[in-house]
Symmetry: C3
Subunit: 139 residues, 3 copies
Amino acid sequence: MKSFRKELIFDIPSRRAFVNITSEVERAVRDSGVSDGLALVNAMHITASVFINDDESGLHQDYDKWLEHLAPHAPTSQYRHNDTGEDNADAHLKRQVMGREVVVAITNGRLDFGPWEQIFYGEFDGRRRKRALIKIIGE
Amino acid sequence: MKSFRKELIFDIPSRRAFVNITSEVERAVRDSGVSDGLALVNAMHITASVFINDDESGLHQDYDKWLEHLAPHAPTSQYRHNDTGEDNADAHLKRQVMGREVVVAITNGRLDFGPWEQIFYGEFDGRRRKRALIKIIGE
Amino acid sequence: MKSFRKELIFDIPSRRAFVNITSEVERAVRDSGVSDGLALVNAMHITASVFINDDESGLHQDYDKWLEHLAPHAPTSQYRHNDTGEDNADAHLKRQVMGREVVVAITNGRLDFGPWEQIFYGEFDGRRRKRALIKIIGE
């Protein structure tokens, strides 16, 4: 069994953003030398997500508006987590809707994807350095 | 390490439906010859889900009503994604709530499940051919 | 390839609770002898979740209030699943928001975590014995 590990670094200047990381994950699969296996890609921080969906800017606007509707940032006083001095409780909620991680099949040395699948890092509390993890196992 | 790959095909005539695919996944586990490992089952399309829950028709009605409440289909003009000519922005949102994939343990050549766990394909934008992927690795 | 399997048992006296199971999963990783691989941790019941987030009691209060807002327990008659004699339809919905499972990388014999990641069992219909599964594969 082969294994491969790589971290991706993010310095998002805004509170929220979606970043397409598909090509970085594809590069990791090539670098791993794994032909058949699984790739785990996860946010290493608990106010961020890794998810798979469409690379379409209108949809990303829809996600942002929808998540803000489901878990509003303000008023920050509505959240007990923010009593600790944080103002990011909403980011912990939004991340649960979008998910922490994806697991993707690797077949013939490639991400085994449907026609529109793209991997995104979803930031909900940016303006600080964060990381995502790629872990690949297989043969 | 053994690996096994299979696609499931869906032609759902309605916009939304839940399909129990547990027996197809069990068959894939048998065909894989894997006794100990992991099975990844994921939607290959970004307006569909694979999830694990109860095979109870009342619950499926509840899911459908609840998802429509959280992310309504109409008016379609409320979503910027639909400015592209699509009318399925809500399906991209619903899929995030229900999830893209499940990872299931394989033990003694069987899906290692609790008493009520069943695997479903959740369609949120049907009336076109779609696929789900089963990828199994182990020994 | 090595594999390791362990069940965790929960007897939660209340309907809802969050339990930090990180140390149990770390112990399983040590017992598995796996240095590089993947750990799957999943609820074996369909009214419970396993998820990764912060071990902060204010945040857990926020999750509980938020989930009750998104999928209220009462009135129980609003759910068709409860026509079967159950009163836990809301728990099946809440579990979808928080997720069934997590997959965590194992590197150098340790859970490969960011600074604040902790694993929780989320109970949404307690007062009965339930289980979570830890399945580890790797080398």
